[in-house]
């Protein structure tokens, strides 16, 4: 009876390490934000605060897929390439057919909706290639997705002859990426990002497949022996990640009304960095989407205040590097302190 009482009292009392780290990183964010408000002119303005989140919607959407894959113990470096590919394809598919002497102005002349659907299907194709090599043939994910990263961007370059496709596009092409909620400057893309983050949060915390992701990352062999179909789940995660990157590619192409083959260079690293900043373990089994979101805002605060302080943009990479190091050291320190 006594032991029962003891269990009851302590159940749930202990914060999980994930929640602890997310809270810790929120603390880091508040401190950084306070510092930025103090030294950077106009940083405290509401519009600027809003921009911190809205200017990064694409990294956050990518971060969702990348975070879940990291939790499962796998990388996805192909997301930047998929953005370029889907952007270029969506443009190519709905450019008018035989309208110009210029090959880059001629497309397939499909309706926009069909063009988008086909482009997303191609994104899923890249995800399927990832899944086949990683889940079926057990090739390390970093190798496979570096391959598909170049493959996807390479196809984009072939279709755009190394440049972009921005002529003879129907007007509808430029709508979805540019319209904002009435009366505000918040774009549809940002709304989509928020919806996806909430959906990902629910998936992670409350569903069986969400739990499966952690189990596979914590111990793939034990997961298999516990009856989890590991390959099937990884396939699902890679397809999801590719689809999210594809959606991002469509939205970005629409925003600029062009399919650009060099779009989203290095975004795969940004997505990785915000996940790690948010406390996701590179070894798998640990992390959260909420943490990734906080990580993205931290990175945004730092880069924005650098710009506000009139630091030359050349310093952006160095600054990102330093922030990443400090944040990850801080996390290690906090987690080690907690163990005792």
């Amino acid at each position: 009876m006594e032991t029962k009482q003891e269990h009851k009292n302590t159940v749930g009392a202990r914060l999980s390490n994930e929640s602890f780290l997310t809270l810790f990183m929120i603390g880091v964010l508040v401190v950084l934000f306070g510092a930025a408000c103090a030294v950077v002119p106009n940083f405290y303005l509401p519009q600027n605060m809003l921009n911190l989140i809205t200017n990064n919607w694409f990294i956050i959407i990518l971060g969702i897929g990348v975070t879940f894959l990291l939790i499962s113990g796998n990388f996805d470096m192909s997301v930047g390439g998929v953005i370029a590919l889907t952007g270029v394809l969506s443009a190519y598919f709905c450019q008018g057919a035989n309208v110009s002497q210029n090959a880059l102005a001629n497309g397939l002349g499909l309706p926009y909706g069909v063009a988008v659907a086909l482009a997303l299907l191609c994104a899923l194709g890249i995800g399927a290639i990832n899944a086949f090599f990683i889940a079926r043939l057990k090739v390390p994910s970093i190798i496979v997705t570096l391959g598909t990263m170049m493959l996807a961007r390479g196809i984009g370059q072939v279709i755009t002859r190394g440049a972009q496709r921005n002529t003879s596009l129907p007007d509808v092409f430029g709508v979805v990426g540019n319209i904002a909620i009435r009366g505000t400057s918040i774009k549809i893309s940002v709304v989509i990002m928020v919806v996806l983050v909430i959906a990902a949060f629910i998936f992670e915390r409350m569903t069986v497949p969400g739990r499966r992701t952690y189990l596979i990352g914590a111990n793939a062999e034990a997961a298999r022996l516990s009856g989890i179909t590991v390959g099937r789940h990884l396939t699902f995660l890679y397809l999801t990640s590719a689809l999210l990157a594809g959606i991002t590619g469509i939205l970005l192409a629409s925003e600029f009304k062009a399919g650009v083959s060099s779009r989203a260079m290095g975004y795969e690293f940004d997505a990785l960095v915000v996940s790690l900043l948010g406390g996701v373990s590179i070894a798998g089994g640990f992390g959260s989407v909420l943490g990734m979101f906080v990580g993205a805002v931290i990175l945004s605060v730092v880069t924005t205040s650098a710009t506000g302080l009139l630091l030359s943009p050349d310093w952006q990479f160095t600054l990102k590097g330093i922030v990443t190091f400090i944040a990850i050291l801080a996390q290690r320190f906090a987690l080690d302190r907690r163990k005792g």
Binding site: V208, N219, A222, R224
Partner: protein, 496 residues
């Protein structure tokens, strides 16, 4: 230099952790050139004591004298330099290097950072040759069995003139014949001026090997005695846990006639034409040496490894894939609990329900309250020592970890449980609890397959005993008063 009679003297040793005193005023001596056994349940404090001796932990108080001199190592390497080497369960050899390279690893002679061949290696190799001539110096360590890797480590310790070699459960993962060879070497170490501190859960080994035995319980030193003065196992067990737990097998009164599992002509890369049946409520044991095919048989039935032949469960052919096998009503407690059974970085709550998430979820959404309730139920039912469902499994002791694996499999609602080495590396108390659980399950009508390389375990709880040798099922016996353990040993070692 005159050598003291005692190679090691431990005086009032104390080690405090934030919430517990793991070693509590322990004092005893270890005689030079003896085999000194250290026994106690998990949590008795022997691991902590060893970690202090090897420099992994700093003591909180007390004194240790090595050869009469104050000894306080600050790392494993420092301990080694001062004369105490350790044979850890996780062996400290590098698979990709040769035996000779391993022997000199960390003490290579170099010129400007380049390796130089010197006499050191010859000395090492000659020591190893004298211990075990069949190991060749140019052989890759990855080609050696676990037992031979241990011998390489022992050779290294002997050649570097260690005063003491600590052996932590060296027989846990090696076969009977290899154990015999290891024992011969350990006994021979006395003549080489080496003292052995020997830790094992297999009590028979202590009687065979030990000169002295120290018993610890709850962090305290209970007694140190010459082994010759101890009457039998049960006296030792009484000292360890304060009560007798050894129970002998009692045959079942009315065994069920209903067949639940039929295995017909099962063959694969390791197994050769194996056929047997298991009845409802029966505890069937598979006994054989390491490499006889026990784990392979379990993995084939579970659908992990490919096979030819037929397996019928409740009259239905089993689809060879773990998720289908679990759905059909079979669960496996795997051989390696950390790498195959548990999600050690997750909490107990994260582990217990994984094999049957459908039971704690609806339309794919997890019912957190129900999940916690179920976890609490199993914590109480199997008496898992924890103060919270939210404790990470890695922080539990071996016995409690194994109970979490059991909880996982029981929650799967299986009618047939396969247990591969269910009590490996677990202390005596937790062992007898696990046997209790197994018996209770069989009484509830569940069928159990036990795959074990410990004969007492098989003879204590199994109704039927199947003997494996080199992938073949050699004999199937019904357990009873007249069962002959010598005959069993004869069969599993290859006798006709």
């Amino acid at each position: 230099m005159k050598l003291t009679d005692n190679v090691l003297e431990i005086r009032d040793l104390v080690k405090d952790f934030p919430s517990v005193r793991a070693v509590n005023n322990v004092s005893f001596d270890i005689k030079r050139n003896s085999v000194h056994c250290l026994v106690g349940e998990n949590g008795a404090g022997k691991s902590t004591l060893i970690k202090i001796l090897t420099g992994a932990y700093a003591r909180s108080g007390g004194k240790i004298l090595l050869n009469g001199k104050e000894y306080s190592p600050h790392s494993t390497k420092d301990a080694k330099d001062k004369g105490i080497s350790t044979l850890f369960q996780e062996l400290n050899v590098v698979d990709q290097l040769t035996v000779a390279e391993n022997l000199t690893l960390g003490m290579e002679d170099t010129t400007f950072g380049f390796l130089r061949k010197t006499d050191k290696i010859n000395k090492m190799v000659s020591v190893m040759n004298s211990l075990e001539p069949s190991i060749r110096p140019r052989q890759l360590v990855s080609s050696l069995s676990v037992a031979k890797k241990q011998i390489v480590e022992i050779a290294k310790a002997v050649a570097t003139e260690s005063d003491i070699i600590i052996m932590d459960e060296p027989t846990a993962a090696i076969s009977e014949s290899e154990i015999a060879r290891l024992f011969k070497i350990v006994k021979g170490l006395r003549e080489r001026n080496v003292t052995v501190i020997y830790i094992s859960h297999r009590l028979d080994e202590i009687f065979e090997l030990g000169d002295y035995v120290t018993v610890m319980r709850d962090g305290k030193h209970i007694d140190t005695k010459p082994v010759a003065e101890i009457q039998d196992r049960s006296e030792l067990i009484r000292m360890m846990i304060g009560k007798t737990v050894f129970e002998a097998y009692t045959p079942k009164k009315d065994p069920s006639q209903e067949t639940i599992l039929q295995v017909r002509n099962l063959s694969n890369h390791k197994l050769n034409d194996i056929s047997f049946e298991v009845k409802k409520g029966e505890i069937a044991g598979f006994y054989g040496l390491v490499g006889a095919g026990k784990t392979e048989l379990a993995r084939a039935i579970y659908g992990v490894d490919e096979y030819e032949g037929e397996i019928l469960f409740k009259g239905q052919k089993l689809h060879p894939s773990p998720n289908k096998v679990i759905e059909a009503g079979i669960a496996l407690v795997p051989e390696e609990r950390r790498s195959q059974g548990l999600f050690t970085i997750l909490t107990i709550r994260g582990n217990v329900p994984v094999m049957n998430m459908g039971k704690v979820s609806r339309h794919g959404f997890i019912n957190a309250a129900q999940e916690r309730q179920v976890t609490l139920e199993y914590i109480e039912k199997l008496r898992i020592a924890t103060n919270s469902t939210e404790k990470e499994v890695i922080k539990l002791s071996g016995g409690n970890q194994q109970k979490v694996v059991f909880s996982k499999c029981l929650f799967a609602d299986a009618d047939l449980l396969m247990l591969d080495e269910p009590t490996r590396g677990i202390d005596v108390g937790a062992k007898s609890e696990i046997y209790g659980i197994i018996r209770r399950l069989a009484e509830e009508g569940k069928s159990i397959l036990i795959f074990s390389s410990e004969l007492p375990e098989i003879m204590n709880i199994c109704d039927r005993i199947h003997l494996l040798y080199d992938g073949n099922l050699k004999a199937s016996l019904t357990n009873g008063y007249d069962i002959d353990s010598e005959k069993i040993i004869h069969i599993v070692t290859g006798g006709a």
